[in-house]
Symmetry: C2
Subunit: 152 residues, 2 copies
């Protein structure tokens, strides 16, 4: 029951972990500078975050060293990425929102919604897109397009 390990991550730390996941996923090693750019924070802030994530045993990190995810870190990061993906998919595929808005909104909402909501949302997307009896997403697109038109 190591104290550093058990408390759940802040939204901020989730963001760091998510970026590290994406950077190390694409072949690259996660470099401090890229993390900073990815999140729009200073390099100094990244150093602080890396220390925290390292204390929580989510990343392997030593000053001036390379950053990699631990097994636990990868699991945690993937949970966040999955939440993000479900939300983004919902915003785009069900609500028909613009891709940029969808991504930004997913980034902010992914920290606020628990597994119960995300899981149900995933089911909902599956249900609507797999549904044989009429294309609900398309119908909705027509619905809100009509709504937005001027009355004339």
């Amino acid at each position: 029951m190591n104290a550093a390990k058990q408390k759940q991550l802040s939204a901020s730390m989730e963001d760091y972990l998510e970026v590290i996941y994406h950077l190390s996923g694409s072949g690259m090693v996660a470099r401090s500078k890229d993390i900073a750019e990815g999140l729009g924070v200073s390099r100094a802030s990244v150093t602080g975050a890396l220390r925290v994530l390292s204390e929580k045993a989510l990343i392997n990190y030593k000053p001036y060293g390379v950053v990699t995810l631990t097994d636990r870190g990868r699991v945690e990061a993937y949970k966040i990425v999955r939440r993000h993906r479900v939300l983004e998919s919902f915003f785009i595929d069900i609500l028909g929102l613009d891709a940029v808005i969808a991504k930004e909104s997913a980034c902010r909402a992914e920290h606020a919604l628990g597994q119960q909501v995300i899981g149900r949302l995933r089911d909902y997307i599956e249900f609507i897109t797999a549904r044989e009896d009429g294309d609900v997403a398309l119908e909705f697109k027509q619905f809100y397009h009509k709504k937005q038109l001027p009355d004339a």
Copy 2:
């Protein structure tokens, strides 16, 4: 262009404003103690928040005085309440989630989603519930209930 007025509210301040809205809505005057209880924070924290909201001209407040919303405050508060309601309705009426989970999730997500997302979500709820051609919400309920059953 008063500096205090233009910056947008933090999630915290939105929460305070929302509680004040609800308290003053139900006939009562918003009392510091009730705000504290409503948000689960100390009375001292409430005092600090009231000062901030007062500086932003969202509430009328003087030490030891009564708290009321200004016109601008009521408008801002109502925006937040509306976001909350749309989310809660979506979670309950579309996703079929438990009322408690729905309320908690709406409380957290209401600060993360902008008017574009909320507006589209409102349209979606309207579209699905008003739709003549089959009850999608009910079908989905059956869908995820079946999903959750053990395989045997």
